[in-house]
Symmetry: C2
Subunit: 358 residues, 2 copies
């Protein structure tokens, strides 16, 4: 533990430096392993999770600002991620859709121990969670990955999934032509030897073994497609649904699928699970992973990971970057919280001034 007088500040720029040094594949492999381990070791008595709350609005722009809290009893800390979602950001401000910071507080004394960028971590951890879920539910011989929605999240979804499957082909679609047309250029950074092809949604659904939906579809405008085909197996990571009224998948497909939410309480409010009655919803991803062999038969069925995002994932990715930063001497310590010589006197600092001036 650091001194309680300083807060460790880890900027997005430092996180970029860490990734540059370690390499994106090593980072993602490490994060997938940590996410798997974090899910398997999850203990509701140790990892106390609250469903996120927030403000949402349509002016000045459509958006929401939410806070996602988790307490880790053994680590003696509370983590709070504040995450903002503003779909017009790329076009209007050249800013990412998702902006975020993560704060960690010490439960010994309440000190703000660390603040770090949450933009890159959010994107990476969402990818890692899909990889973990797809390893459990996806067909082992999966060769074709479908991607609907080609924004920032799609890059880390493809990256994470390509670390755990040996895909031959990626089929992608975005109704936004800028995202659609730039996708192949953008994914070059991943250095993948995979055939990548722009494809209409019905053919993506028809042909994919694993599918990721990560769109900014507006409230009440979903689903993204109708489901008429009758596939033997398909695992879907539904990443974009994270707001009341926002859905990506057709109910007809959900009805035929085993749907595993990341965090049930949240998924029934803002995930694909909004569309289902409680008896139609499967066990959450953590429960499924803990009893993995019970769920192997689902690899040859239709499955959906309803990924609304959990503060547990944020804790896992934050811990990874903080550890790496400290081992690499990156980041800085700042004095943010007020400290006084006399903790019982908010004005005690004035005594020093008085003494200095007399």
């Amino acid at each position: 533990m650091n001194s309680a007088d300083h807060t460790f500040l880890l900027s997005g720029e430092c996180i970029q430096q860490i990734i540059q040094v370690i390499g994106i594949d090593n980072i993602m492999d490490d994060l997938i392993e940590r996410t798997y381990k974090g899910f398997i070791e999850f203990d509701a008595n140790n990892n106390i999770l609250s469903a996120r709350k927030g403000f949402n609005y349509i002016t000045p722009n459509e958006g929401l600002i939410e806070w996602m809290p988790i307490r880790n009893v053994i680590e003696e800390e509370v983590l709070l991620k504040v995450v903002a979602y503003h779909p017009q950001n790329p076009e209007s401000f050249q800013l990412p859709t998702v902006i975020s910071t993560i704060s960690k507080y010490n439960t010994t004394n309440g000190h703000l121990d660390t603040i770090l960028d949450g933009v890159l971590p959010t994107s990476l951890r969402t990818g890692a969670a899909s990889a973990v879920a797809s390893q459990l539910f996806g067909h082992p011989e999966s060769k074709i990955l479908g991607i609907i929605g080609c924004g920032a999240q799609a890059i880390t979804q493809l990256h994470a999934l390509s670390r755990v499957f040996d895909f031959e082909k990626v089929l992608y679609f975005d109704k936004d032509l800028i995202a659609q047309n730039s996708f192949e250029e953008r994914v070059k950074i991943l250095g993948l030897d995979i055939y990548i092809q722009s494809t209409p949604i019905p053919e993506i659904v028809e042909n994919s073994d694993v599918l990721c939906t990560a769109t900014s579809i507006a409230v009440d405008q979903g689903p993204l497609f109708d489901y008429h085909t009758s596939k033997e197996w398909l695992h879907i990571n539904a990443v974009g649904s994270d707001f009341p009224g926002k859905i990506e998948l057709p109910k007809s497909l959900l009805d035929e699928s085993y749907v595993s939410p990341d965090f049930l309480k949240q998924a029934i409010v803002e995930g694909e699970c909004q569309q289902l009655s409680e008896d139609q919803i499967g066990q959450d991803i953590i429960t499924c992973l803990k009893k993995a062999t019970d769920f192997y038969h689902l690899k040859e069925k239709l499955t959906v990971f309803d990924s609304t995002g959990m503060a547990l994932e944020d804790q896992i990715v934050a811990d990874m970057f903080i550890a790496l930063a400290k081992s690499m001497n990156l980041g800085q310590y700042i004095a943010l919280e007020n400290r006084n010589t006399d903790v019982k006197n908010p004005y005690s600092f004035l005594f020093h001034t008085k003494k200095q001036t007399t």
Copy 2:
């Protein structure tokens, strides 16, 4: 508005510097005026307040960490104060009981606009709120101020109240002898020409015109005193009750008093209002201030301001210090959130590296 690429950071040290330059009396006068104005101008459609939530625990130490959110529609911002309460901090760690930071987010795009220390602001705004409430409910000829609980909050309570009343005498008590014995020395910084006297609680209650309770009394250990006397008037600022099960005032006194909470939804969960049925609770302080003349008769009665703390007060004090800091060129801008040349590609920063190395 600042650039969305940087976050304005205002440390406790900078806030100390501001107070040193402006002077504590000018700061408190400004804050009391702003608090009064903020309460009077409160509009539930513009100032959207959520009751605070948090984690509380008894290990590793008794404490809680809470978040207090407010959205200001016109200002296009969300403010989130994270506040920690750890009563053992002064003795165990030489840290203040209350540790806090305040963050402000822009609702145009979700950018974290400002982070500032919340320790000094919390202490000051709690004092200012008591001053505003006491001006409304307190007897205009109030000469004797009682203080039960002589920790950090007591200093700013005394300071704020001394700016709006012409007290002749302060009667104080703390069961903690360190706090009790150091109080007179600590309040010297206020430069008050008031007779200050350590006094047993029953005599404080008996003789005070205005009373502040700001103790760390443990859950289920309240109230601080029994009420047997029959006073004509007394206004109490009940500051310490801010946790389920934590109360300071006897129900017999509340039953005879007009009790005005700061934020009803919160006060019935963690304030003195826990002890009352809804029909026993008066209008909240904002409603009372807006119809002040309707409440003047209470100046000669028993009244209680059930001050659990509102994010609205935090917004008012944060805005004051941010404005002062910027006018004085204090504080710093940091690049915290990740920014990429390509907002649709979390890894786009790697292209630059590649280009640089080839």
